[in-house]
């Protein structure tokens, strides 16, 4: 039987033509969608902002829109776009009044905070936004029914823990937060906390509409009916697909310039970056493994954040309980090379646990000579532990969440330690939830992990993490001198002596490698269309930079 299409001779020609087209398109310098020109060098006046317009940006799937429940960095970013609190937080713990009229008045004993609220403020649905709503919001965070992830940072507020206790029966009245009048918020602490003022800028203290919700335990609702106190409101959430944010015309602070922001849910950063290059997104995150692909583009933005990643040791492990072993592993790790090979030189190698820009931190490099890379010192430390040349070193495993970046990190450490120390470690790759569960239950020997701050102060990097029995001390670090330094910091009312104690605590943690050997500070990578202006990354950002009300399209 004859083939259709004119016989067999035509088929090879057709096939060759298709292949040639494909190869030419793939290899040719096709219409690379380079962004349009940025403002010319030396220009001092930014292009005029255009009122209106809309953009599409990439996000991952949020878990919740309720600020009193959330803990995902993406959720917090969306809440910063759609809600606003008493204060905005800038780097260095600088507070700028938002719905508050002024900074808080703090009583002499440090227990009572009185905050004046701006008058004439409204929710997006037109209801009055006043001090009662901030009382309601704090009560929601402390509610055992809401079960807010970040309740623990408000533990200083009187009655907050009692109202939160799932076994308890205390009612909302035990929480010592009140509104003496509609424009005054009063918070009474059970014990003084020098950093409490900073917490007033965070999402657990955002307002909640007492009139709309009715009771503290009421559900936050689903779009378009979720409460909105920020420059944008969530008008639509199609799970797995997108969220739509529209300008809040009732917003009493700096009004947004854009009319609409579409948050496109794309979990894979590589897919998002491809979509950005193809012109389907205006803003996209970039996967760190692809930094070398995009870093030379003019629309590529690298943002430093207060996040530290390091090698975490289980201090109760028979092998790792020996400080010399921990020191050997730390000193055998070339952090510069690690950053170059594993991170594409995207991040900042470090031996500091607390990022140097945090209030109360030690200066960058303060511990380099003690725990930094030194092959000979590493070998000596291992020999002091009784494993000279790696002889007799027991099997040790490193626990990772399975990802391309973590596989590269594991292989790097495995190879480097083999070369420098002559030891062999096994790599244990599991899915994210399994890794988290094993870490939370201290079922590991070594793991790659770290911390990103909740608020800018060295306290957030140490309290609860490195005290004996600390609620999130999963590495089981226990050194009395660290406990003493942290305890001394807690009772200091003045910042400088408090920070001095925290620097000492950090020094003790790092020099003793008490559960952590810091490796690098990391941040976020973005592709941002040059047609957008006003996107200003700060150290207090989460998934995306704050203050979307300042974003606009260029004329």
């Amino acid at each position: 039987m004859r083939l259709p299409l004119g016989g067999w001779r035509l088929w090879p020609a057709v096939l060759l033509a298709v292949l040639a087209l494909a190869i030419g398109a793939a290899c040719g310098g096709g219409e690379d969608k380079e962004p349009t020109a940025s403002p010319s060098p030396g220009a001092t006046t930014p292009p005029a902002a255009v009122e209106g317009g809309e953009i599409t940006m990439q996000v991952s799937e949020p878990e919740s829109l309720d600020p009193h429940f959330s803990d995902f960095s993406l959720d917090i970013t969306i809440q910063q776009m759609t809600q606003r609190g008493l204060y905005d937080l800038l780097p260095g713990a600088e507070l700028v009044p938002a719905y508050a009229e002024d900074l808080p008045d703090i009583s002499a004993d440090g227990l009572t905070y009185t905050i004046p609220i701006k008058s004439g403020m409204k929710w997006a649905n037109g209801e009055t936004l006043d001090a009662n709503d901030f009382v309601f919001g704090i009560q929601r965070t402390c509610s055992r029914v809401i079960a807010g992830h970040y309740q623990y940072i408000l533990t200083s507020i009187g009655g907050c823990d009692d109202f939160y206790d799932p076994e308890g029966t205390a009612g909302v009245d035990v929480v010592t937060v009140s509104a003496p009048d509609d424009l005054t918020l009063e918070i009474t602490l059970a014990q003084p906390q020098a950093t409490f003022k900073v917490l007033l800028a965070l999402w657990p203290t955002y307002p909640a509409p007492d009139e709309a919700l009715g009771t503290v335990d009421a559900d936050w609702g689903t779009p378009p009916n979720t409460p909105c106190s920020g420059p944008f409101c969530v008008t639509e959430w199609v799970v797995g697909d997108h969220l739509t944010l529209e300008k809040n015309t009732s917003y009493g602070l700096t009004k947004a310039k854009l009319d609409k922001i579409t948050l496109r849910i794309i979990d894979d950063f590589s897919v998002a970056a491809n979509a950005y290059v193809a012109g389907e997104l205006d803003m996209s995150r970039v996967d760190p493994s692809e930094v070398t692909v995009y870093e030379n583009r003019p629309d590529f933005v690298k943002q430093a954040l207060p996040i530290t990643i390091g090698l975490e040791y289980l201090m109760t492990d028979p092998v790792l309980s020996d400080k010399n072993v921990r020191l050997a592993l730390s000193r055998a790790t070339d952090r510069d090379l690690f950053n170059q090979v594993v991170n594409g030189s995207a991040w900042i190698p470090t031996t500091n646990w607390v990022p140097a820009e945090e209030p109360g931190a030690n200066e960058l490099g303060a511990f380099e000579e003690i725990i930094g890379f030194d092959a000979e010192a590493a070998k000596k430390a291992l020999a002091d532990a009784g494993y000279a040349g790696g002889a007799g070193f027991p099997s040790v495993s490193i626990l990772f969440t399975d990802s391309a970046a973590n596989r590269a990190a594991g292989e790097f450490l495995q190879e480097q330690w083999s070369q420098v120390l002559g030891i062999t470690v096994t790599l244990d790759f599991v899915d994210g939830q399994t890794r988290q569960s094993r870490f939370n239950n201290s079922q590991f020997q070594l793991t790659l992990g770290g911390w990103g701050h909740d608020y800018p102060d060295a306290e957030n990097w140490l309290v609860g993490l490195y005290e004996t029995g600390g609620s999130i001390n999963k590495q089981q670090c226990s050194i009395p001198e660290i406990d003493d330094a942290i305890a001394a910091a807690k009772v200091e009312a003045e910042d400088e002596p408090r920070w001095e104690q925290l620097r000492e605590a950090e020094r003790l943690v790092v020099e003793n490698l008490c559960g952590i050997a810091p490796l690098y500070h990391r941040g976020n990578l973005y592709l941002i269309s040059p047609d957008i202006q006003g996107v200003e990354p700060t150290l207090e950002d989460h998934f995306w930079p704050q203050f979307p009300e300042n974003w606009s399209l260029k004329q």
Partner: protein, 337 residues
Amino acid sequence: MTGYVVRRILWMIPLLWAIATLTFVLMHAVQGGPFDREKPAPPSVQAALNTRYNLDKPVLPVSFDGSPPFVELTANSQYTFYFWDLFHFDLGISFQGDREVTEVLGTGLPVSTQLGAFAFLYAVGIGMSLGVIAALNQNRIGDYLSVFFATAGTAMPSFIIATFLVAIFSVQLGWLNVLGWGGPPVWAWNPSFWDPDNWHIRQMILPVISLGTLSAAYIARITRASVLEVLNQDYIRTARAKGLQEHVVVLRHTIKNAMVPILTVLGPILAALVTGSFIVETIFAINGIGRHFVTAVFRRDYGLIMGVTLFYALVVAMANLAVDILYAAVDPRIRYG
């Protein structure tokens, strides 16, 4: 036949219960829960979350003890709560935004079904055509090209095909879209389904090709083998000897008789395609049920895992029943009691 169909449908009830129970047990046996975060939470927060979502209750209604009576039963278990709700057609909530599982399925299923249906049509159209061409041109260029396609399609994973297509046709040439599915996320009985403005072909082409190529290759191989076997039958020689035109021999006698083995694979292929593909849905950021399912497993989103698993099981069972019915339609020798 009616009695056979009714019996098969009734048997699905205990089947689905068994699958649900097995999934429930395995799901809770895996380490890690929905609130195990990279940033660990204090025990007080873990306790509050477990209480909020009833995760502090025993998983199963049965527990075993070393002392008499050795077995303890309780109605206050996660299993009891879940199956009581299921009995009332309530699939529970997803931990993503506390949304109803039915709502999540309601937005994801139409998308996956459309994508799967178009991929199925593509796979059947391309696969059967190539298979027939190959069989009719055995050991000639048509056969070689078809086998080449079948082999290449089987050897290349869908994520390789998808990545290749995106790199060329979206990023470099800009002809086709990267993101999303071009059809409305509604079922056919919704009026907006029939609005042409809600269909965007540029968004549909790459996902359909990526998803359907492997199945097309497989169908091509099965079709080729089946048609070759039929072509060697006496009744085909008789048909040609009678002077029938070749296209009549092929379309009326050959393909119809070659369909039984092809139908055998079409049922599972259809079920696999319409229930979504995590890889294709992730690469194209399509809001489909495949992506929801895999994400739910990684996040330990128990309600969504159970809901999607039950749906998958139901689809596979119904697809197999449909195939069995089609056997009888195609081959009059097959009859069910």
